[in-house]
Symmetry: C2
Subunit: 194 residues, 2 copies
DNA sequence: CCTGAGCTATAACAATTGTCATAGTCTACC
DNA sequence: GGTAGACTATGACAATTGTTATAGCTCAGG
C-alpha cells in the first residue's frame, strides 16, 4: 500500500507482475491482467500501445525497483541484515500465496525470446538481476569484503535465492529457504570478517 | 545418443523436455512437441492418455534421471568433481542453445497448479530436486562433511545452479556461472576438510 | 455550451490451444 | 490367411490468445 488509490495504470502493472509470478509469462494473458486490475481491456492497449511486451517489461522493472528499494533500506544495517530481509521478503511471498507465487523476474528469464530478436523483457530482467547484485556487492565491500569476492558472492546470493524460491514452490515447503539462509549467512560473515 | 533409434515415445518425451526448457511449460504445446519429434498428434494421446499433464510429468522425470545418472557417475571422483560436472552440464546446455535453453524442472516449478489440486508435475519436480540434493549430500558426507551441513550445502548447490542458469539466460552471458562455480567450489572444500 | 483529449466499451480477426473421435494402416501371432 | 492390437491420419470442438478497430463516454479549459 504505497498509495491510497493507485492509478489504473499502476494497478495493471502491479497485477501483471503478480500474475506472472504465479503462472509464468505465457500463461498470463492481457485479458486476465485487465480483469485482475478491474480495468477494461481497451485501457491496457491505451496505456501500453506496444502491447504485451511493454506491459511485461514494465512489470519486471516494477518488481525490480520495489525489491531494490527494500534491499537498499535493509542493507543500511549491514549485509547480514540485508540478506535476512531479502530472504524474508521472498519467504513472505511464497508463504502468503500458499506456495503459488515466486519471482516474476525469474519467470520471464526462462522463456525463449522470439527467433532472431533480443527481447526487451529479457534485457529488463538482466538489468534487475545486475542491480540486485550491485547493491549486495557494494554493501559487502563497504563492510570489508574483498572486491572480487564481493561480486562473486553477490551473484551467488541472488542466484541461490531465486533458485530456492522455485524449489520451495515445487516442494511446497520453506525448508529450502531455511537451509540456504543458514549457508548464505555463514558465507557473508566469513567474507566480511575476512 | 543412448540408443541408435529411440522409440517414438522416447523421442516425444525428450523433445518435450527440450521444448519446456526453452519456452516454459505453457508455451509448449502438444502439437509442437509432436511435430518436433516427427510423431503424429494422435500418437501423443495414444502414448499419454492422460494428456499433457502426463507427458510433462514424464519429461520432468526423464530430465531428472538423466541428470542424476550423470551426477552419480561424476561424484565417484568426489564432491568437487561432481560439482564441476554438474555445472559443466548446465553450462553446455546454456551455451549450445545460445542462452535459450535452461532447466525444464525449474520451468515447471514456477507455474501455478490448477486451483484446488496439487499437480503431479510439481510433485515430480520436487522429487527430482530432492534426488539431486540427496546425491550431493551423500557424497559430501562420504568425504567427511558434517551430516547436517552436508544437507544444507546440497540444497544451496542445487538452488544456486538453477538460479544461475536462469540468470545466464537473462544476461546472455556465462559470467554468473563462473562466479557461482568459484564460490561453491570453495564452500565444498571448506565443508569437506572441515 | 462546445471542443478535444483521455479513457472505456464492445466487437471482431486469425491463430493456436488441449482434447476427443473416428477411420485407416500396419504388424505380430495363431 | 486372418484377426487382434498397436499405431497413424485426419478432422473437428469449444476456448482462449494478442491485437486492432470503432464508437461511445467523461470532463476539464475556453
Amino acid at each position: 500500500m504505497t498509495k491510497s488509490s493507485p492509478s489504473a495504470r499502476e494497478r495493471i502493472v502491479a497485477g501483471a507482475a503478480d500474475m506472472i509470478s504465479r503462472r509464468g509469462l505465457n500463461a498470463t494473458s492481457i485479458r486476465e491482467t485487465a480483469k485482475h486490475a478491474r480495468a477494461p481491456l481497451g485501457s491496457t492497449y491505451h496505456y501500453f500501445p506496444e502491447g504485451k511486451q511493454q506491459l511485461v517489461t514494465e512489470a519486471v522493472r516494477y518488481t525490480g525497483e520495489w525489491t531494490a528499494r527494500n534491499l537498499r533500506k535493509e542493507l543500511r544495517a549491514g549485509p547480514v541484515a540485508g540478506l535476512q530481509a531479502f530472504l524474508a521478503l521472498w519467504r513472505k511471498i511464497v508463504v502468503d500465496s500458499d506456495f503459488r507465487a515466486g519471482c516474476p523476474v525469474l519467470a520471464v528469464s526462462i522463456e525463449e525470446p522470439a527467433p532472431g530478436e533480443t527481447s526487451a523483457v529479457l534485457a529488463a530482467a538482466a538489468d534487475v538481476f545486475t542491480t540486485w547484485e550491485g547493491l549486495l556487492a557494494d554493501s559487502l565491500r563497504e563492510h570489508g569484503a574483498e572486491p572480487e569476492r564481493a561480486a562473486d558472492l553477490a551473484t551467488l546470493i541472488v542466484a541461490a535465492v531465486e533458485g530456492t524460491v522455485a524449489m520451495c514452490r515445487a516442494k511446497r515447503s520453506t525448508q529450502p529457504l531455511d537451509r540456504t539462509a543458514e549457508q548464505l549467512r555463514a558465507l557473508i560473515l566469513a567474507a566480511v570478517k575476512d
